[in-house]
């Protein structure tokens, strides 16, 4: 039994690499899109705020599984054919983006109005106000839920196996199909996911401590 698992390890490693790759892409894209849309939600003109609000509320109201199937099987109806990998990444990114929007809104919204006014008063442009005054302060608030979201993304990436993509989850299932050793392999899988997410949590806590400054 152990022999069979060891034999399967390179295959599992490939699946694991794909899991990390999907997670990384989703986290990266959703961070960029979420921060931009979040800034639009907080500072944008009213129509933009509404658009982001509707986007965020809609996406967050849909089960992620439905979102994945919708992008993969639904979008071809309007002529958008995405290969399964990119369909999965797109769906997970949409989902995560909506969350990042909310984290950003919460974090930026917690900064008192006077900070922006003081930044304006010394002549900072909007972009400088954000990068030098608002974001550094909002960062500490943004980080914990966001890292939480990153661990969610790693876990959620297992759903891509439903589109037949060989990520860690799918690799485990396939090895089980060949070896009939379900329990040890699921335990191994659980341990790998746990190890990744535990590492992320630790990193998060260290980061948070580093960005602690005392508020008046």
């Amino acid at each position: 039994m152990l022999g069979q698992i060891i034999y399967a390890l390179p295959f599992l490693a490939e699946g694991f690499a794909l899991t990390l790759w999907v997670s990384f892409l989703v986290v990266l894209f959703s961070l960029m899109a979420g921060v931009i849309l979040g800034v639009g939600l907080v500072y944008g003109p009213v129509p933009l705020r509404w658009a982001v609000r509707i986007f965020s509320d809609t996406i967050r109201g849909i089960p992620i599984l439905v979102l994945i199937f919708f992008v993969y099987y639904g979008l071809p109806a309007i002529g958008l054919h995405l290969p399964s990998f990119w369909a999965a990444v797109t769906a997970l990114t949409l989902f995560k983006t909506a969350q990042v929007v909310e984290y950003l809104r919460g974090a930026v919204g917690s900064i008192p109005r006077g900070q922006t006014e003081a930044a304006m008063a010394i002549g900072l442009t909007f972009r400088q106000q954000l990068t030098s005054v608002i974001f550094p302060q909002a960062f500490r608030r943004f980080l914990p839920p966001w890292i939480n979201g990153v661990t969610d993304a790693v876990k959620g990436s297992a759903l891509v196996s439903l589109l037949g993509i060989t990520d860690l989850m799918q690799a485990i299932n396939q090895v089980i199909g060949r070896t009939y050793e379900a329990m040890p392999l699921y335990i191994l899988g659980a341990l790998i996911y746990f190890a990744v997410n535990y590492t992320l949590s630790l990193a998060s806590r260290r980061l948070e401590r580093r960005f602690t400054f005392i508020r008046e």
């Binding site: 008192p112 006077g114 900070q115 006014e117 003081a118 930044a119 304006m120 008063a121 010394i122 002549g123 900072l124 442009t125 909007f126 400088q128 030098s132 005054v133 550094p136 302060q137 400054f213 005392i214 508020r215 008046e216």
Partner: protein, 264 residues
């Protein structure tokens, strides 16, 4: 002796500025000229529009009609009376010429005292970090906080924070400094040290418009006092005229009477 009959153009020229928040008329045709080097204090009951007036001067707040000029340049709107708002960069550049000190300090809590002062110097004035640091240290020395350059705001007393707030504003070498009840959030024993700094700036010729409830300071340090009531300038003149108990301005008299009753 020059016999110059030409009027010296005011550094700050507020003309017929009106502003409403919704249906509430907050400023009613306010006009005010402030010359270079002048210290003007603004007094008046709460809600009379003092803060709003200051905020209009550096365009933290827009206004509905009238004009505000600093050094001849229209604030907020493009030249030519089109009432077209200036672009974002243009506004930022204009605001850099106007210093503002807030009642609630509004220091940047993630930056040290020196960092608070250096931010505008590096980002807006384009100074190197070393240059900015030495300017920050100079001003911190001027406000008596030379030893606190590397302290975070949270590690400073209210009076110290406000002195950093003043240093942050003046380090930008603004043409005019706006101060909005800068001692109102302070414990009484800390008011003096902050006013002392303002006095020093006045002696150096800094042009200032200062909203305050410190009547003794207004009397001693300002060249003119503006009394605002109900969104308008109700009285304006040298301290001895405005603070005279026998003024025939009904509103001013009752304001001063109430003020004296509650503060002395």
């Amino acid at each position: 002796m020059a016999t110059n009959t030409q009027e010296i153009p005011a550094l700050l020229d507020v003309r017929d500025v009106s502003k409403a928040f919704g249906t509430v008329q907050v400023l009613r045709s306010v006009s005010l000229k402030v010359s270079r080097g002048e210290v003007v204090t603004v007094i008046g009951p709460s809600g009379s529009g003092k803060t709003t007036l200051l905020r209009c001067v550096n365009f933290l707040e827009s206004y509905d009609s009238g004009s505000i000029r600093i050094d001849g340049k229209e604030v907020g709107f493009r030249e030519g009376g089109s009432r077209q708002r200036r672009g974002e960069r243009d506004l930022a550049a204009m605001r850099a010429e106007t210093g503002m000190v807030f009642q609630s300090f509004n220091l940047f809590p993630h930056l040290t005292a020196a960092g608070n002062i250096m931010l505008g110097l590096t980002k807006v004035r384009g100074k190197s970090t070393a240059e900015a640091r030495s300017i920050a240290e100079h001003w911190l020395g001027r406000v008596g906080l030379g030893h606190k350059a590397d302290s975070l705001p949270a590690e400073l007393s209210g009076g110290q924070q406000q002195r950093v707030g003043i240093a942050r504003a003046v380090a930008m070498e603004p043409k005019i400094l706006l101060l909005d009840e800068i001692t109102s959030a302070l414990d009484p024993e800390l008011v003096g040290e902050v006013l002392e700094v303002v006095r020093g700036l006045a002696q150096d010729g800094m042009t200032m418009v200062m909203v305050t409830h410190e009547m003794a300071f207004a009397r001693d340090a300002s060249s003119r006092i503006v009394f605002m009531a109900d969104g308008g300038v109700s009285a304006i003149g040298p301290p001895r005229d405005i603070l005279a108990a026998e003024t025939d301005n009904e509103r001013l008299r009752s304001f001063l009477a109430r003020f004296r009753a509650s503060h002395f």
